[in-house]
Symmetry: C2
Subunit: 763 residues, 2 copies
């Protein structure tokens, strides 16, 4: 697929005038289709940077449960779209980008023509329902724009968005039976009981408002909407698919299926009828709100007052261009640019804006709050994103990252659980994965000087969070120095992650001169030692009696005391103290040999085939790049005195794991974490231990990058002579001065300047 | 039962000082127990005038459905309490007063001691659950105060309230196993699917907040709460009774049943544990909000900052005293005073306050609105209350009634249905009964000069409401001049009520000089003629072909074209044009004879035994006083030249239908309509056609009444020589001048003055 959109021409004068040099159209390099096949779990639809609306086609969603049991097939539909599918069910307004569990898919819209069908039908029989066959040859997916031809009814669908409003443009054939369907039952990871309630008002012949409340991954989640049509509908109707348990009372007096303007129930589908001329375009604005339908209407009227689709699309793409320009790269081939700018695109999707234009949003306590002085964000996939995404934001999106920190602190203040978020979305804690990695984000922001909020209160929140004895073995961890496997599963992962998180708290405390906190948590930061089994050389689960668990297979990911990783990978998870880890594991040489084995050994399928998040796509030897726990591992060679191994293997991973095309990602993008790893590594450095202001040096994979910082400085990276064979760093020059370290400080980057890598084919 | 509470002593100085004459303690005459046995459907618990909280014991609630079918037994539990029951389930915070269908019963609290029981148990085996046996000898029910001893666990429960906060005081025995249960599943007219969702936060060791969302008579109803304990609980827990369809996801990681502070689900019960000394009192404040749990907390902290139960009780009873003093009566016996002031109490319960102290409330569109310049009310049982309750308010509660009108207009603006309320509660239209009687309330307020709002917009709302062709046969009514029985059932009731309502709109239009509207609606006001069947002398259902329905039994209430009334009663429903009705029915003499027959004939049981709202208790001959359609009927004798028959029969009805004691009411009090009939009739006049400013003269049943009007005037009624035998009005004197009419104008009353009835035993 090739973008035919000449963005540069569409940039308004003010935009062009502000630039002192000709600016490349970077939007052309963004390929939202990357990751939509197999395991990437990205979506191809339209969104603006960090937008509340992610308007995207769903090719299927499936039910989370089948015959009362978990339906494994639902996993491939985490983002609603799978490239290999032949039909599109419709276009819904909320999608996670790259997650390995899911929710959302709210408010599916589908245009149809002919006899009304209110059921979606099935993929094998698209004519059995409102869904339609489509072909990738008629599909365009750009940053902020999506277009597809719906073959069944010869309708062209185009999508774009503002931050809070999706804009649909449907080009119909001539018909007196044209419909636009609003499916309020549809959802990702749906199942029978997910819809808790829906409420709809048809305010007039072109405006509909309401909400949908669900009980899914988000336990108590309500999304409000306001929907406006460019042309009045001539008739509308609905069908309530609720089971018999929904009480209807005296509402039974009325035929609510036909032009009835106030509806409520668990399972509603609606339709709106039009007469259309050949090629007549009907536009639908669909605004969301986390607070109220009044808020959705306010968002709609504020952000998208007109009906000019092209203009809204231009604005969306200008917004992307503006963000993408934060890093201008020079690369030899288009593929490198597509990988780079699509990664940048993927990192700038989540977390998502979660407040109305007036600052209102619903908090964890289900009350409406107003964000004062910050933009409230949601969708914090923290087990993934603390590693590289938020450190990346501290570099290129510091203002937004600080707002995200404030959003997490608001979460803390609104919940009765005394916890910072673990994995949160839409005013819900969903508890996915392990650790309390919010503290890592806060520490990283504080240590890097990007914390314009009450940092002592933030530290208190971290301490409170890390002191919840009821949380996943924390009580045992505090008392014994490790989580006993017989008390809380995945005990080694938990122990290692808590120890790292505690180190992050200690760094923050040190920066704030809160030495009592520092002393407590720096001690806890060493608890990784308590799960190291010298007899096997691996981290290994211990029981509450102090003994190591007898049965132990360091290659297996299941039931071994780890989560989504085996002992081979997780044993390397001491990012806060590589030197100590290396010593513990037998010294530099032996440790480097262990790493070599990790990358080169052969791992039989049986060891990961039951773990959804780990597939052959994401594996190199026994190193699992497609999932997060090992993302720092390749940089550990730097501590063994063999940095060239970091350099060559980083390049190998970049080559192996990131491609253009729908199948381009080796694993779930995980809200941008996989992409953030790509970006850091391509630029030549990586944050091994967020909470430190040092990055580990790797091997830059582009010729040049100019990072424009929000403080007005620029930091230029030049990789002289780099190429597929020239992956070794022969010399480093920081601001023209030879530089002999394999780390670089964040503070040195944000001062502005130039880092030159002189590359070679020899180390 | 006798109140031992010496209220007069407790009145603070400011209260006493404001009075220039010694004031009787009127609260002592209020007997909330009246109507709690059989059909009254009142509740004995604590509430303040028009308060949001109605904190009252529930002796049972039953399920609305049993084995998939309507459970007839649920009807007796419309108010949660039946006098004959031997056990109390607990104390819940919301109750309708006197309705014939139900909902509410939110947030049941029950104190217990010993082994924890989280199920309520059954009435026949109270020890099987948390409910308790009780005895009326240990029960005190006063205005604003309720007390009972719970025999099972030897706990004394006392209840009082502010407008938005219920206050519980439980006196425990010594125990280390004292519990306070919060049952979030409990409800009136409950059934399996009624609970849509509940959400709870245990904020700290003495504060709990959350909400309960139901789908019952109120289709989409959410009530928020904040609950505060006078003593920290030592432990708490919960149990989720949700069926398997509720998705729990990663929350399964935690034991949410034990000290877990954030809960959500369909069916929750909670408990809070205490150690108690002998006779230790634990108090619970329980605040409600229609907007948010933050609003509930604001209400709690604003209205009830302290923990002084006696003081709150005093304030509640002072509030009642203040309202009751609006009519000071002189009567020979205590029974008359108890009947009068209990009726006054019952009229001052509904509609109920429906906004937070800051004016926030949730509207029909499910958005939070702020009431600007008025108090927002809910619970509009309009088919009942347009007849006498709201006219009564225009006399003695004009400010509140004007606010109620504004509440109805806000409802109109918030719904997409383009309808004023029919029967509304808690931001819901529940569609109970027939007609669009909001227009009668608005017309009555406008015609009586009690409409401090945009009256032209109000008229527009009335016209729009009466023009909804989809509503219950209105389209046919507009086109044909009557509702055809084959198109919409209860067609005669509907036609007659629409015609009256339309007359009311016409009166309002005339007052506003909107003659186009007047002309349209005064024509529609005559449509009652279209359902009169001269051949039988009754109103009779017509079919769409214009013919009268063949099968017709004017005594039957079922399937005859009427709702909750038979042709005998409903044929008299032309309050807007008695003269015309009388002429149509054969002239004054024949009409009077028809009325005589109505009151004296014998109606076999079979004619009403299938109608819940009509029982032998409420019937005199074939005249049904226990239900509303005939409430004006006895006053129609005035138009036949035989006013003495009005006089004697009014007294007969007062005697027959209103008594002290639990079984004192002959039918559902219907949110005060039955009581308002009593009050008007006891005072000697009645609003036959609200929307007119004339009252029909009857026969006063007290010696003297002084009505203190809000404009500062007083209007005194003196009934010289009245008594059980002296029921006939020999002479009338208005302000000392002989008065020869059988009507009196509202304007003449509110000017202040004195109306003397000289009574006699002869007419």
């Amino acid at each position: 697929m090739k973008s035919k959109f000449p963005l540069i021409i569409l940039l308004p004068c003010s935009f062009a005038a502000a630039q002192t040099r000709p600016v490349d159209n970077l939007v052309q390099y963004v390929k939202p289709i990357i990751g939509t096949q197999r395991m990437g779990h990205t979506y191809p639809g339209a969104t603006v940077p960090f937008g509340m609306v992610q308007l995207s086609p769903d090719t299927d969603t499936l039910s989370y449960e089948q015959n009362g049991a978990y339906n494994k097939d639902v996993y491939k539909y985490c983002a609603g779209y799978q490239y290999d599918d032949k039909t599109i069910v419709g276009f819904s307004h909320t999608h996670f980008s790259g997650t390995g569990h899911s929710d959302l898919g709210d408010f599916l819209i589908m245009p149809t023509v002919g006899a009304l069908q209110l059921n979606p039908g099935t993929a094998d029989k698209p004519l059995s329902g409102y869904r339609s066959a489509f072909s990738h040859s008629n599909e365009v997916a750009e940053a902020g724009y999506y277009k597809v031809k719906l073959d069944d009814d010869h309708i062209t669908a185009e999508l774009t968005a503002t931050a809070r409003v999706g804009l649909h443009q449907y080009t119909f054939p001539a018909s007196d039976k044209s419909h636009i369907i609003l499916d309020l039952m549809h959802g990702i990871y749906n199942y029978d009981a997910k819809n808790v309630w829906t409420y709809v008002q048809v305010v007039n012949d072109s405006l509909v408002t309401g909400y949908r409340q669900t009980n899914g991954w988000g336990r108590t989640r309500t999304v409000y909407f306001a929907m406006s049509f460019s042309k009045p509908f001539k008739h509308y109707g609905s069908k309530d698919y609720s089971d018999k348990q929904v009480y209807r009372g005296f509402w039974r007096k009325f035929n609510q299926e036909d032009n009835f303007p106030e509806l409520a129930g668990k399972k509603l589908r609606m339709y709106f009828d039009f007469d259309t001329r050949q090629d007549e375009k009907i536009l639908v604005k669909f605004a969301l709100s986390p607070a109220s339908s009044a808020g959705a209407l306010l968002n709609l009227r504020t952000e998208l007052p007109g009906w000019d689709f092209e203009q809204v699309k231009q604005q969306a793409q200008q917004a992307w261009q503006h963000e993408l320009e934060k890093i201008m790269i020079t690369a030899k081939d288009t593929e490198a640019k597509e990988n780079f700018y699509t990664s940048l695109y993927h990192t700038f999707i989540n977390p998502t804006t979660y407040m109305d234009v007036d600052g209102n949003y619903k908090g964890l306590d289900q009350n409406v709050h107003k964000a004062e002085g910050f933009t409230n964000y949601t969708t914090f996939s923290l087990w993934d994103t603390y590693r590289a995404l938020h450190p990346f934001f501290n570099l290129v999106q510091p203002k937004r990252n600080a707002d995200m920190m404030q959003s997490m602190l608001a979460h803390f203040n609104q919940t009765a659980l005394h916890m910072l978020p673990v994995w949160s979305h839409y005013a819900n804690e969903n508890w996915c994965m392990t650790g309390y990695h919010s503290v890592s984000l806060l520490a990283d922001a504080v240590v890097k000087g990007n914390a314009p909020f009450d940092v002592n209160k933030a530290l208190d929140a971290c301490v409170t969070t890390a002191s919840n004895r009821w949380f996943e073995g924390v009580g045992y961890y505090i008392d014994k120095g490790y989580v006993p496997e017989d008390k809380s599963g995945a005990s080694v992962s938990k122990t290692l992650e808590y120890a790292y998180d505690d180190w992050a708290i200690a760094q923050m405390a040190k920066k704030l001169n809160r030495m009592d906190v520092y002393n407590t948590f720096i001690k806890r930061a060493g608890y990784y030692k308590n799960v190291f089994d010298a007899s096997t050389g691996f981290m290994r689960p211990r029981l509450s009696d102090g003994s190591f668990k007898k049965e132990f297979d360091p290659l297996d990911t299941e039931g071994q005391g780890f989560i989504e990783g085996n002992a081979w990978n997780y044993s390397l998870y001491v990012p806060q103290a590589p030197d100590s880890l290396i010593a513990m594991m037998g010294g530099r040489k032996r440790f480097a040999a262990h790493l070599d084995s990790l990358f080169t050994m052969e791992l039989p399928d049986k060891y990961f085939e039951h773990t959804e998040d780990i597939t052959r796509d994401g594996i190199i030897g026994n190193y699992v790049h497609g999932n997060e726990p090992s993302h720092h591992v390749v940089y550990l060679y730097n501590w063994t005195g063999m940095p060239w191994k970091t350099q060559e293997r980083v390049r190998m991973i970049l080559k192996h794991q990131y491609h253009t095309g729908p199948a381009g990602l080796g694993g779930n993008d995980d809200c941008g974490q996989m992409s953030a790893w790509y970006l850091f590594s391509t630029l030549g450095f990586y944050p091994v231990a967020p909470g430190s202001d040092e990055y580990a040096i790797g091997s830059p994979a582009i010729d040049k990058a100019v990072i424009t910082l929000e403080n007005g400085n620029t930091f230029t990276i030049e990789a002289q002579n780099q190429g597929d064979n020239n992956v070794y760093v022969k010399q480093l020059l920081l601001n023209g001065v030879p530089y002999n370290k394999y780390t670089i400080r964040h503070a040195d980057i944000v001062k502005g300047g130039k880092l030159v890598f002189v590359m070679s084919n020899k180390h």
